[in-house]
């Protein structure tokens, strides 16, 4: 069955891979992102792959005043929204953010406040529909603060908590809220990292996202092995953890 899917931050690697899987099953897609040329390239690809319909919407996702227009346009075009995937984000530069609050603020604005603003706009649409999935990409980095990326981690952690509360709020109304926590993904965002065996490609994450949507999972770690890894990391006593270099 084809679905109506809204993808926000569509030109990110994970979002692109997810959009392709949706296109192959003939979904109707509404893509939002900042770069018109990139969105156009992606849209052509999705049409060739079999998407029933692809609409693109150019806007700066960091600017929350653009969010109402985005959600209205998506709703008008798609009618019912079966799945919304909020996928935009930045990694940021931890060292620089430690010394420059403006940079830290920007990380929070893009990774936490912008998704929260979009969710705020989307929730009334979903309430009216009484069904559908709201999914957002958070991160394993949001599970525990670590010296190497606590600004990014704190922003993603805020998003994870928000989604947790929203899930609790919307559960009685039959609306599915999915928190996606990828581990190491080989994307342009992580281009300069040395890659080890825990790294996976974006399509592995995309497959996991759509499976979690179908199974109406609450929180999905992708790949699965991050769940036990993070369980261990979260279980380390703080007195010990503060001495570790992770």
């Amino acid at each position: 069955m084809s679905r109506n899917v809204l993808i926000i931050g569509a030109t990110s690697a994970i979002a692109g891979a997810t959009a392709r899987r949706c296109a192959r099953r003939g979904d109707r897609l509404f893509l939002a992102g900042r770069d018109a040329a990139r969105l156009g390239i992606l849209a052509d690809d999705l049409r060739v792959l079999g998407a029933q319909e692809v609409t693109t919407h150019v806007c700066d996702l960091a600017d929350d005043t653009a969010h109402a227009g985005l959600v209205d346009a998506a709703r008008e075009r798609l009618g019912r929204i079966d799945l919304s995937l909020i996928a935009h984000g930045i990694l940021g530069d931890q060292r620089a953010e430690e010394g420059d609050f403006e940079l830290a603020r920007r990380n929070f604005e893009i990774n936490a406040l912008s998704p929260i603003s979009l969710l705020t706009r989307l929730v009334p649409v979903y309430r009216e529909q009484g069904q559908g999935t709201l999914a957002a990409i958070s991160s394993v980095a949001g599970d525990r603060g670590r010296q190497s990326n606590y600004v990014y981690g704190a922003a993603k952690g805020a998003l994870s908590l928000y989604l947790q509360g929203l899930r609790n709020r919307l559960h009685p109304e039959g609306i599915h809220v999915l928190t996606i926590k990828p581990g190491f993904v080989d994307t342009p965002m992580t281009r300069d990292f040395p890659k080890g065996p825990l790294w996976v490609g974006p399509d592995v994450i995309a497959r996991g996202i759509l499976r979690a949507v179908d199974r109406r999972r609450d929180v999905v770690y992708l790949p699965w092995f991050w769940r036990p890894i993070m369980a261990i990391i979260k279980a380390i006593p703080e007195s010990l953890f503060k001495r570790m270099k992770l």
Binding site: I41, D45, L49, R191, P197, W199
Partner: protein, 435 residues
Amino acid sequence: MPGYTSWGRILRPRHTLRPPRWRHEPLPDCGDLSRLPWGRGRSYGDCCLNDGGALLPTTALDHFIAFDAEQGILRAESGVTLDAILRLIVPHGWFLPVTPGTRFATLGGAIANDVHGKNHHADGTFGGHVTRLELLRSDGRRMECSPRENADWFAATLGGLGLTGLITWAEIRLRRIASSEMEQQQIRFPSLDEYLAIAAESDAEWTYTVAWVDCLAKGTKLGRGVLFRGRHAESGPLAMPRAAGRLGVPVDLPFSLVNSASLRLFNALYYRRHPTRTRSRRMPFLPFFYPLDNLADWNRLYGRAGFYQFKCVIPEGQEPAMHEILERIAGSGQGSMLAVLKRFGDRPSPAMLSFPRPGLTLALDFANRGEATRRLLGELEAVTIQAGGTLYPAKDALMRPETFQQGYPRWQTFAAFRDPAFSSSLWRRVTGENA
């Protein structure tokens, strides 16, 4: 995660990675480093390597642009794999016009190596089915090239080993198929002479022909093997078969599983498994074209030292040279299960540098045993040159500059089309250039 190396895993190059992200954007800044596009590292030697320079992996340039399912015209970015293309087109009744023995190569790689397949005698090389492409040069210039527009750049880029600039996208003409299944026949042949007779007869009537040869058989059995001939079935299902759960070789073996004992046993059993009379069957296209693709990372079977492939073409009329090559291989006891023999047809390629030419081609892997292996390959290269033949850059890691320059007489014409900021380990090796 696979590293940025080549399929033979002999070389351990050092690269600065500069992956392009989107086809409309400028080339990544590489400073003073020379650059080379890299698709999926499915060529065997050093034509996809640029030791000490920058590598431009095209992994992210994997978007389709347009597919005309009525006319069978496909336009896609150069990093799209043949596998992705097949998944798209087969259900619509189309097939690749020419395909190499792996579907995990990219469109850009297929063009840059002007690859060929089992239908060379009927359809020529891949380059003959490319209708248009865009070249992005290091000076920022973009050029649309086709047989009519920028025709000389087009001819240089087909088979151009990635050296004329980055191919951002290309358009190809597809082959109509009525079914995704193949009709296949297998015919055992007891000698090279018998092969030549059966191959000539088969090439006249079958779209695809290829032979396995027992590289260890000597004396009267020299050149024995099994010929496979096939065509697309005229009716039947049209579907991308699900690849049987891909097995993989998860680690580098500390030694090669391919040795003379395992090889002798395999070859004798494999030859006997095929009956003396012709056997016909119907099969899905995946195992017909890509029998090795189901074993992921099979190159690891050759152990940490990697392997070489020897792939030569011996011109028509020089068959005794092929006898000599097979004799030397059998005498050495080296070689592998995968020895492939094919008769090239006479359809010329539009490419300036193209490997196939009328005659016999032999492809054979050799586990890397150091000097002994390189000495044997040097001998085989000498026999090839003597016969007026040449080696295939896509598979080669060893050929001498004279071999390349004699085998590709237009190489100096080609050199004028090379992007001055592009280079490869192979190019420096066979031309003696330092750039």
